[in-house]
Symmetry: C2
Subunit: 479 residues, 2 copies
């Protein structure tokens, strides 16, 4: 990718490896994960081409297609390469599925897992996991979702997607907060029971969740009230009057701005403390790297400070790993980079996990009564089976290590570019964070559009960032 970026205007669709100084042989020692992958993108028509255009028109008559990027032929796609309906072969980084395909299109292990009798049973006889769990549910959780649980968190509440994972974690935080305030074993008061049916306090309390400016936590009503990324996500939708604090805006390169960045992070932590003192906050929610908001990073010291502060003030800390989780930062969970003394109270997951939910460790985060945190499906066993296969694939090929190494390589290449073209590659960030790398560039959208015509489908975040989010099977020779 880095070299495509450098040479694309000169070389058209020829791919990186042919023009890199070291040539293809430099990668000969790294075996590709997919022996049947195309060797390079190939674009034969405009995107969308004629076949796709006709299909888009047909789809648009029943389904909104204005956010459509590409209409895909997944059956023909392999590994890192995505094929569209006109036969164009693209390399999405992440492009497709918003960084949610972890181990490659048509990964054989995943095909085997989803063709199994176990998967078909989970689909055809879909259980309501709260009331009628299947016999295999405990062992599936233990060998899958919980086998990769963050340190200190040994329980899970399963959900369907990022938004409800986040919202159920908020509900757990509110129920917990009132439990502590009320005192263990104390019943609801008649006033609470009566007022809650009118959506009023004290039964429906005036508690809040604090989030950060530029944060993205989802688009349903509770999660959207903590999302602060772009107006278009929020306009015209009623929301809760919940507080926000500034997220650090670091200066790059980090090594030249140590003092200023330290001050910026202290300023933000002071804002958090101010909000906690001024608002009834049940939990603070934070992304390890603000993903939709522009790939905004903060140091481990900032997050350690946030953990210490929330713990001291009796406020829960929810780490939203929906986009950062499952390996993309070179560790399984991005918050492992922080070396916290005590774990977050809850960690949410979705996207690359293909299933969703939140981890927790404190048994008091199970509500005092059943049916308070409950719904019909309570998650999805077939996706839990899929996640288990993904975990096995990651372990088998050491894909976290691959991502860390590929990320280091990409970062170094981009660093060279930044040094040669400082106006085109600004604020390069994501060092030691696997392939979770971004930079700012003027005329970002034009660049992304141009790259797409070369078969390289990169995404943006925030207003000016180009963000990399390749799969975990992205290797140096794709770079």
């Amino acid at each position: 990718m880095a070299s495509t970026l450098r040479h694309s205007s000169r070389l058209g669709i020829r791919t990186a490896r042919f023009v890199l100084p070291r040539g293809r042989n430099a990668y000969a020692t790294v075996a590709p994960f997919f022996s049947n992958e195309p060797i390079q993108p190939s674009v034969m028509t405009p995107i969308p081409g004629p076949v796709s255009r006709k299909a888009i028109e047909e789809l648009d008559s029943v389904f909104d297609t204005r956010s459509l990027n590409m209409i895909c032929d997944y059956k023909k796609s392999v590994g890192n390469y995505l094929v569209d309906m006109d036969g164009n072969v693209s390399l999405p980084i992440p492009g497709n599925t918003i960084a949610s395909i972890p181990v490659g299109y048509n990964n054989p292990r995943l095909i085997a897992a989803m063709s199994s009798k176990e998967a078909v049973d989970a689909l055809v006889n879909r259980p309501a996991l709260g009331g009628f769990p299947p016999a295999y549910w405990a062992s599936l959780l233990k060998t899958g979702i919980l086998a990769v649980a963050p340190k200190g968190l040994d329980q899970v509440f399963t959900a369907m997607a990022g938004s409800d994972a986040i919202e159920t974690s908020y509900k757990a935080a509110f129920i917990y907060r009132r439990r502590i305030e009320r005192g263990e074993g104390v019943d609801f008061t008649p006033q609470e029971i009566e007022s809650v049916m009118k959506n009023q306090a004290p039964g429906s309390p005036e508690l809040t969740i604090m989030s950060f400016k530029k944060a993205f936590h989802g688009r349903l009503f509770g999660s959207l009230s903590t999302t602060r990324s772009k107006p278009v996500h929020k306009l015209d939708i009623p929301s809760f009057d919940w507080p926000q604090a500034s997220f650090p805006r670091l200066e790059y390169p980090l090594e030249d701005n140590i003092e200023a960045n330290k001050k910026e992070e202290e300023r933000c932590l002071a804002e958090v403390e101010d909000r906690i003192c001024s608002w009834p906050i049940a939990a603070v929610v934070v992304e390890p790297i603000q993903s939709e908001g522009g790939d905004n990073h903060a140091s481990p010291a900032f997050f350690q400070g946030l953990r210490d502060l929330t713990k001291k003030k009796g406020v829960l800390l929810i780490v939203d790993e929906v986009q950062t989780g499952v390996g993309a930062t070179g560790k399984f969970w991005a918050h492992e980079h922080w070396n916290l003394e005590s774990p977050p109270d809850m960690v949410t997951f979705s996207k690359k996990a293909q299933t969703a939910g939140y981890y927790f460790g404190n048994p008091l985060l199970r509500p005092n009564l059943p049916y308070r945190q409950f719904n019909t499906w309570m998650g999805d066993p077939v996706r839990a089976i899929l996640f288990r296969a993904i975990i096995q694939e990651i372990a088998k090929h050491d894909l976290i290590k691959n991502t860390a190494e590929t990320g280091d390589y990409l970062y170094r290449e981009l660093e060279k570019l930044a040094s040669s073209f400082p106006e085109r590659v600004q604020n390069l960030r994501g060092k030691d964070r696997g392939t979770f790398i971004a930079f700012d560039t003027p005329e970002r959208d034009a660049l992304l559009k141009k790259m797409k015509t070369f078969g390289v489908n990169i995404g943006g975040s925030g207003e000016t960032a180009v963000r990399l989010r390749p799969m975990l099977v992205f290797q140096k020779h794709h770079g």
Copy 2:
């Protein structure tokens, strides 16, 4: 079921058909849908039995089991019959999966659909439907979800579960309302763009959704603000200050209370009108039959009045068919019973559909810009494939007609019981509504518990109702 109810205390686990006056031969003309179904429930241990108890203990160490009804061996379950880990065979009506299994456990057509290459592809290469839809998405929608779209509604927004189906329909209503208020083509103001990032008006407007007392529409923050079923669903969770109106409380039998019920419905409609005049209401949401709130019915005249009133006042009408949809009332959609002159603005679906979303017909319900109603997955193609197979199975065996006929039969039998035991079977309701039948009974929970020991797993709704929700493949000989 009716006869089991009558005879259970006398005959233990012997099933209905052996004791009904007409005997088994009365059903000989109706071929069973599953030739390999057990002929009756059989319960050999307490439920949960020793194997299940051990499994529950194991599961509880990582997952809340306090709402657990039964731990199931789905692979051994067939048709209407559910097998638990101790080998007990139960007849869930609905028991399992909260009325969400439509055409029987291990239905062969569904097994074929979920074993297909198409399904495996949809799982392994899960597309982000908004940005990167698969080539087959348009035809899958047209031959599946949209082939059963309610009259007048030819568009769909797909979702994951009932709660996000409802919440995205609310978002569509708010965006639509502001579009009409703002005027076509008028941009957001700088004040809107600035205030919305602080969760404040005018960008985040003070609009509301009106729901009915005793309604259930889900458990996330927006949907929970319209749910009014039980305090335990809502306590300690912040909610929007949104209005409610009374839902009719009809007197039974209907034919003896015509005048009183007419007045009651008029009273409720007057309340709705009052709310619309006093609150900024973007939409009214209503269930055709209040399902969690106690199986509360209203007449077609009430719903016609509600449609007329909302239309006159420029308020959208959302019909929540998450529980009533897909055949259970003897029509595909329950609101077809009302013969409306103009269709609802949106109709939500989930549960028996196995997939979720909302239908709509008005093109202005597509937001004026892309990415306003958007998320990573935007639904789930494998569930859309599953729903298509369910639709085919319903058509092939005329299961809507079966449900209407079975429902008539069950209703008549329960009517006889009500006449013999008026104190045990009160307020029988659901005539001409397929198998969506309920009655009130004193000591309801004790009855349900006792039935479970006979292998008949019935559910309750509200505080006193016993509700039937059998599958669409439930036949007279199961009754």
